[in-house]
Amino acid sequence: MTHFQLTAAPVDLAAQRAALRDPRSGGFCAFEGWVRDENEGRAVSGLEYEAYAPLAISEGERILDEAMQRYGVTAASAVHRVGDLKVGDLAVWIGVSAPHRDEAFRACRYIIDEIKQRLPIWKKEHYLDGDTAWVACTHIGHAHAGHSHAHEPAAR
């Protein structure tokens, strides 16, 4: 089972988890990205996510398929929010179930790293001082083939 979703509504965590249950799975790893109250020293009030949906979904499904094959996990899924979020909100949820814990952890980590690098999803931070900025994790590339982190200044 692989499934990648974009949603403008809060994520139903119990339903996401339930879809990954499997009697062959002894380990389940989940990752959640939450909106933090600061980034690089600036107080954050909230953010907005914008996605190029058809490509984000097909690339998201591709990442999940890669994780399944690389790590031999039983099931994996992910959901990413779009639209306006406030501090404490869940921005992304990833779940993986696998026979053993090692594969579950590694596949889950792979998925979030690749999501951050490869999906056409953009994040605009809103700061308490009223300023805003588009934040870039990286140029699009493969997270697991070398990292490059850049902070793209606001284009206003």
Binding site: Y49, P120, W122, R156
Partner: protein, 79 residues
């Protein structure tokens, strides 16, 4: 040749529009971006972008075809 464009993030804000249809003589995405950058004043250089053609990641040098939908992808930050 007529191509469809969709803009996201900084490019959408700088263009002031989310999409447009343009008549162009650009043969490749690279030529097309140079043309649009001049028109809209985009701050991002092509080196910092990826290109998608018809909902797939594409190549800056591929031949554009009439009716293509092109998206220039600014640096991303999912998750």
């Amino acid at each position: 040749m007529r191509v469809n464009l969709q803009y996201f993030a900084q490019l959408r804000e700088q263009a002031g529009i989310g999409d447009e249809v343009v008549d162009t003589s650009a043969a490749t995405p690279r030529e097309l971006y140079a043309e649009l950058r001049a028109r809209h004043g985009f701050s991002l250089s092509a080196d910092s972008l990826k290109v998608a053609v018809n909902e797939r990641f594409g190549d800056w040098q591929q031949a554009l075809v009439d009716g293509d939908t092109v998206v220039f992808v600014p640096p991303v930050a999912g998750g």
